[in-house]
Amino acid sequence: MLKPPLAFVAAAFALLGAYPLLGGAYGMDLAAKMMIYAIFALSLELLVGGTGLVCFGQAAFFGAGAYAAVRLSPSDAPAALLWLLPASVAAGALLALAVGALSLRTRGVYFIMVTLAFAQMAYYVVHDTALGGGSDGIYLNFKPALGSALDLDRPLPMYAFILGCLAFSFVLLALLRRSRFGRALAGIKANEARMRASGFSTYPYKLAAFTLSGAIAALAGFLFAVKDGFVNPELLSWHFSGAVLVMIILGGLGHLRGALIGAFAFTLLQEFFKSEAVFGAFAKHWMLGLGLSIIGCVALLPRGLVGMPAWWRERREQRESRGATGAMP
């Protein structure tokens, strides 16, 4: 019998695979967007949950992948997918390498602030200079092609491709956690001083994690650009960096499936608060509900949604044990 977490993940992927048969055009579009956010959340989970590095600038790497995808495509013909995808991922990885090399020299709240500063720099470069094409954004005129095998202009192949990338990222990170590298990162998260005392040079490990995280975020950005065909500087804004942090906390830190759950829950929560069917005219104030939910979630669910079954079980055991020993005086 599969262990519950593994069963859960398998079921989730099966459901995602079957969804195109159930949902309509809009539903597939929404599900595709959620999967892209899930890849983005996974990249941050590697840093925050896996290594204990709170990065407030993850959107910069997402944006790097998205803008690279658009900028490196010719304006009058489709680019080759086999070339464009690795190039966009590499763009994100390189940016992460540069930012990480400098930021990792700081710690704690200063690290948070420095990553924010670098993300803002990337934002302004894209917003103000010719490199980014300005505040309105730029078009991807032709989606990249893989010969005739994969036609990304049609929604179903696009959906399948994104699902494939999500599965790949998840498996990659799951294997990484069990590897020696992943365990070193966990050690750094638990107590960096002790790791150094045992002879580990922690800086290269942190830098490697940071770079890999940037690469995966860039993959998510690449998929976003290809799906919508339109990118704009807000993809690098600190709001987006904040949103992805909320996603992994909401889902539950320290678990890969937490990133998945968090991305889906956050997007669905947004859609819920925006829906006029439930809130009528008040739906335009959806950020109020979202804000209160974030506050509530952080305050009341410290382990996120992933921790809910365990939390429920603990409460039930508490109640049972109190009953077994008789009424309290």
């Binding site: 925050v48 709170v54 407030f56 400098l102 020299r105 700081t106 704690g108 709240v109 200063y110 948070i112 602030m113 420095v114 924010l116 500063a117 670098f118 803002q120 720099m121 934002y123 302004y124 470069v125 917003h127 103000d128 200079t129 600190w238 709001h239 904040g242 942090l245 909320v246 906390i249 335009k284 104030h285 950020m287 109020l288 979202l290 804000g291 209160l292 939910s293 974030i294 506050i295 952080v298 305050a299």
Partner: protein, 293 residues
Amino acid sequence: MDFATFLIQCLNALQYGLLLFLVASGLTLIFGIMGVINLAHGSFYMIGAYLAFGLAAPVAAAFGGGFFSVLAIGIVLAVLLGYALEWAFFAYLYEREHLQQVLMTYGLILVLEELRSIVFGDEVHGVAAPPLLAGSLPLGDTMSYPVYRLFISAVCIALAAGMYLVLTRTRLGMMIRAGSANREMVQSLGIDLEFLYRVVFAAGVALAVLAGMVAAPVSSVYPGMGNTVLIACFVVVVIGGIGSVRGALLAALLIGFVDTFGKVLLPQAAGVAVYLLMALILLWRPEGLVRAG
């Protein structure tokens, strides 16, 4: 750039820097003394601007008061708001990790923005400067400088001086400086930390609200105005040194000049310049320019 223009740009830079200092000083005290990262600080600035807009008509109708009455009432409301918010929300954040503080205050930003939308709507509004200060001072043959901007700078300088006096010459100021340098020691000395925290928080909120009210005539009142100020404030606090008011002043002026002259000399690089500065300073002196205490 000729000398007259240079002088005027310096005035612009000074005014922007001082206004930034007013908002950031509250943030650095809250950060330094209570150890709380408050992302919602920019929202207090926005609340100030909207108060200046929203109170103008009722105050004029109630007792014919003008701009200065609005300012006074606004400050009182701000102190009350700060007190209430600290008691109801921020007191729970002190013992939590930075990540949780970031996220909870991020949620607070969304809540405050929407409350503002519900109460005041989403249009862009103008606030008129008081007639006393609405004129312009001629400087050079084509250019006049609005008197109101000089007023803003004057207010900020007065408040900076006031803060200096309170921090260096009063008992409260002494406790604040001590708490900023070493919180545990202050606690073990038996000083009522709860009261201290509440006062500091209310003061920080009041400073931000006042800055918003005073800036409203020149910056207009529009949704999202808190966000731009917030990021600039964080840069000021981090460059200046967390908990140091003197550092915040230095950093704010530095940023005022870099931003103003950047916009004029290298418009494409202006946005990047401030963050580049922050990154460089942090890599050189990770604790900021001035250590607190």
